[in-house]
Symmetry: C2
Subunit: 228 residues, 2 copies
């Protein structure tokens, strides 16, 4: 039975798993959960994932949530190849060090910025104050500085060394969120820009395929901003 993937391409870890499955040619059953229609809040979906979020996998009846835990599981099960998720203990630890770091240090500040500047106004009609946006932007820029200097910019091409891994894929999908809110991390951070192109190319055409809707939002936001 193919793995079932419950996802929405507006969700960054969903995109990560979607791209990964396509890239490694892992046949999966697509279970689209439309977040904009609040399908994750239905009773039916709560039976699948009591946390009512995406992504989720169902592997022969074993249902698992949390993208990082899913990556680890798929690696152990031999579904993610070793080059993308090292098996050697110390190299694996370096990838996992990043996977743990990014929750609070990259994802959180990018997601807060996205939510405050883009998502809440769209969903609830709120208008955040410039001070509020600026506060979240500052925290995000500190995070991007750390990502650019403490992970990248240390002489290697990718997050944990000279080979692309799931760490790069998790990171790049996060960086698309602020772009939807009109902030492009690639503009202020040349090291991030260089890395971004390499990772995107590596996972293309699937990277661009997974980002079709995201890129539409980015283009629409850019058009709106140019009219201001």
């Amino acid at each position: 039975m193919p793995i079932k993937l419950y996802y929405d391409l507006m969700s960054q870890p969903s995109r990560c798993l979607y791209i990964l499955f396509k890239f490694i040619k892992c046949d999966f059953e697509s279970k689209y959960v439309d977040l904009r229609k609040a399908e994750h809040y239905t009773e039916e979906y709560a039976k699948i994932n009591r946390f009512q979020r995406v992504p989720v996998i169902d592997h022969n009846g074993f249902v698992l949530t949390e993208s990082v835990a899913i990556l680890k599981y798929l690696s152990r099960e031999g579904i993610i190849p070793e080059n993308l998720y090292p098996r050697e203990s110390k190299r694996q630890a370096r990838v996992e060090e990043f996977l743990e770091w990014q929750h609070m240090e990259l994802r959180l500040p990018c997601a807060f910025y996205f939510r405050t500047k883009y998502l809440e106004p769209v969903m609830f009609g709120t208008k955040p104050s410039p001070q509020r946006i600026s506060g979240f932007e500052q925290r995000m820029e500190q995070a991007l500085t750390n990502f650019s200097t403490k992970w990248l910019g240390r002489g290697s091409d990718f997050v944990t060394g000279d080979a692309v891994t799931v760490a790069d894929l998790i990171a790049i999908c996060e960086l698309e969120q602020p772009r939807m809110a009109g902030y492009d991390p690639r503009e202020k951070f040349p090291v991030i820009n260089e890395w971004y192109q390499k990772v995107r190319n590596h996972f293309n055409p699937y990277y661009d395929e997974a980002h079709v809707i995201v890129n539409k939002v980015i283009a629409k936001q850019a058009k709106l901003a140019s009219k201001l």
Copy 2:
């Protein structure tokens, strides 16, 4: 060479590793990093951990940060026994599902509350408004409700089943942080209280030993509150 552990017992994941090492009788070299003296911000410490945080381990020259990544590494290296960190893939995935979930869903709300109500006033002399504290308290209570009903309270004794694992140890250490700020999760959540006693007993005398300073802060705060 024994593992070097860089830690401060005011840091919840530091306490987790400290208790674990003592409990499994793993000889370690104690490297105390006094956060209150800002020793983590020294140049010397930045050479050990570029993120300037605790805990960190040094295992025969391999330096690793991020408590969850450390737990995984120590499990792979056979240092954490199987009963505390399952090796079987699906049981391991359940523990890791929690380890990933807790970053944003338990740690963050507990830490925000602790920082706003206790740490910032102590460190910077700020006085948070009752509204601000109440906002953080509400988010923390939602998190505690989720922890109490979606992990505990499902018919098993511990976070991921009928045996105590590193998931319980990570969780219980987090719940001490709001206690230092005068909020005891055990009072409103009987399921948490019952679980707390079991986990604490399991890891005692090391649990109480690691919490001597934390318990002094809790007692001092309770005394201050009773005078209000």
